[in-house]
């Protein structure tokens, strides 16, 4: 049953450009996919490790910026991708060392500060980042000779990366290491007493999270062929966190559903409602107040309760 659902979902995802009708919707689907990768990355920390970061747009943006710089210096695509991810990992190390000085609210504040430094550099260090004008790139890459210029081509490439991300998350969650990460979230002292290196576990989670944020940032660059300080603003970090929280932290499906929700609200709703920022904020507030565990677990819980409430009545009638 579960395998069947998975296969159906895969077929559905793979054929999106064929049935969704119109390049506009294909592009929205691509955006959902790379934002879902970003949200999955944030979820590693916010969900499984219990460390809420409000600076991840910094890592996302660093990948995009360094990718754009390297590409505009005329290097080939392999160098661009590995260089951008290498730089992101390096910065992730620095972020992690500083941010892991604190946990809880301290961690939140430090990540805000780190994110704002990246934003400040992107906005002000004009000789490197071109300031508010941002950096444009010449076009999308074509790995293995396959062109990503068309919306469908880009969608499929993003889907492959997305599936890799989901797969790596599934392995991560099921692994003993994943269990130890959850352990450091729930009982850091006991984990310490049991001989686990709590700091190192968090550090590695941070790098894992930073890596996928960087991958998402690179895809964002390829998609827009442009990056500006907007991509690294505090709002962007908040949006990523909103995706995770909205969908449900520490679940595999949650961040994906959350990313879909946010991207659809941003793109589709903005065609009808001018005040989508207000809607986004309102969704944030309503979810946190009324469905603190997120949409996916919240719906599952309500669904189970509804089913459980129905069942005795059915047997009584039968």
């Amino acid at each position: 049953m579960k395998r069947l659902a998975l296969a159906a979902a895969l077929v559905l995802l793979a054929t999106v450009p064929l049935w969704i009708g119109g390049t506009y919707y294909v592009n929205i689907a691509s955006q959902i996919l790379f934002y879902a990768i970003f949200a999955l990355g944030v979820n590693v920390l916010a969900g499984y490790a219990g460390l809420v970061s409000l600076g991840h747009a910094g890592l996302f943006g660093i990948a995009a910026y360094s990718g754009a710089r390297i590409m505009n210096d005329g290097y080939n695509q392999l160098v661009v991708a590995s260089g951008a991810l290498g730089v992101t990992l390096l910065i992730s190390v620095i972020f992690a060392v500083l941010a892991l000085r604190g946990t809880g609210l301290g961690f939140v504040m430090i990540t805000v500060a780190l994110g704002q430094i990246v934003w400040g550099v992107a906005y002000r260090w004009i000789s490197i980042t071109n300031g508010d004008n941002g950096i444009a790139i010449r076009g999308r890459p074509s790995p293995l000779g396959l062109s990503l210029a068309s919306p469908a081509g880009f969608y499929w490439a993003t889907l492959v990366v997305f599936l890799l991300a989901v797969g790596s998350m599934a392995v991560f969650v099921a692994s003993p290491f994943g269990a130890s990460v959850r352990g450091t979230r729930d009982q850091p002292r006991r984990m310490n007493a049991l001989g686990y290196h709590v700091w190192m576990i968090r550090f590695i989670s941070f790098l894992f999270s930073g890596f996928w944020s960087g991958v998402a940032g690179l895809l964002y660059l390829y998609y827009n062929q442009f990056v500006s300080p907007q991509a690294v603003a505090l709002t962007a970090s908040a949006e990523a966190l909103l995706m995770v929280i909205a969908g449900g932290t520490a679940t595999l499906l949650g961040p994906i559903a959350g990313a879909a929700l946010v991207v659809i609200v941003k793109n589709v709703a903005s065609a009808y409602i001018e005040r989508w920022n207000f809607v986004l904020g309102a969704i944030f507030v309503v979810i946190v107040v009324f469905m603190p565990e997120g949409l996916v677990p919240g719906t599952v819980r309500r669904w189970r309760r509804a089913v459980a409430a129905l069942r005795p009545r059915v047997t009584a009638a039968g």
């Binding site: 500083l98 704002q116 550099v121 505090l234 909103l242 920022n277 944030f284």
Partner: protein, 286 residues
Amino acid sequence: MNLWVVLAVNSITLGGLLFLLSAGFSLIFGLMKIPNLTHGSFFMLGAYLATSLIAHGFDFWTAAILGGLLVAALGGVVERLILRRLIGAELAQVLVTLGLSFMIADVCLLVWTGDPIRIATPPALRGATSVMGLGFPTYRLAISLIAVVFAVVLWALLDRTRLGAMIRAGVDDPAMARVVGIRVSRLFTIVFCLGAWLAGFAGVIGGPILSVYPGLDQEMLPLALVVVILGGSGSLVGSLVGSFVVGFLYNFGQAMFPELAYVVLFLPMLVVLVVRPQGLFGRQTA
């Protein structure tokens, strides 16, 4: 020589504004453990409200006090209706304040449009005052003076009154404060409203210098955050010192390293976080 004096005056002015903004932020954070991410929005909203009040014929100071009061009322509603439901869930509170800041920003954009609005300097404070042979803009001196007055008043409130003693007790040990009969939850409302009022008021008196424009909230919030991290949460002296440090770093950073102004601003904060996580004037908590 003259450039440095001008920069120093501007730094002190910004420091004064930041003190008004961050004193409330720091108290709220110290007492309620909420990093109130709507604080920048309160600042901006106060300024916007004042522009409307002034347009309806109120004078500057009345508008500043009324604008602050309206913001404080909103703060009270937010605290009572939303934050109250999430007590103990610190993370949820951070996220709710973030969501609210999006909403406030969008409402401001709807009501007051995207054009920057400048609040006129009150007539009595226009022009320059000469101190020791150097001319200083009167209004900037006035802001510094207001900040000093508020620092003294707040200090007296916290250190010399019964309410202040209760707030300090709540900051130090909320559970024990409850046990001895202090209604900590009512303190939460009072402190939140006070903080919101200070932020709104600061927004208005900052108006003649900074103007009001969309995005002002996201510009002021990180500054308040830096002040509180530098100074230590819940500490009035910390806010005061932190505000002036940030005021100087920001202005001199912008003048000397225009491309790295933000780095100059945030690096000291990171150093403090790494070396002394509780802030310069914060106390070590268990």
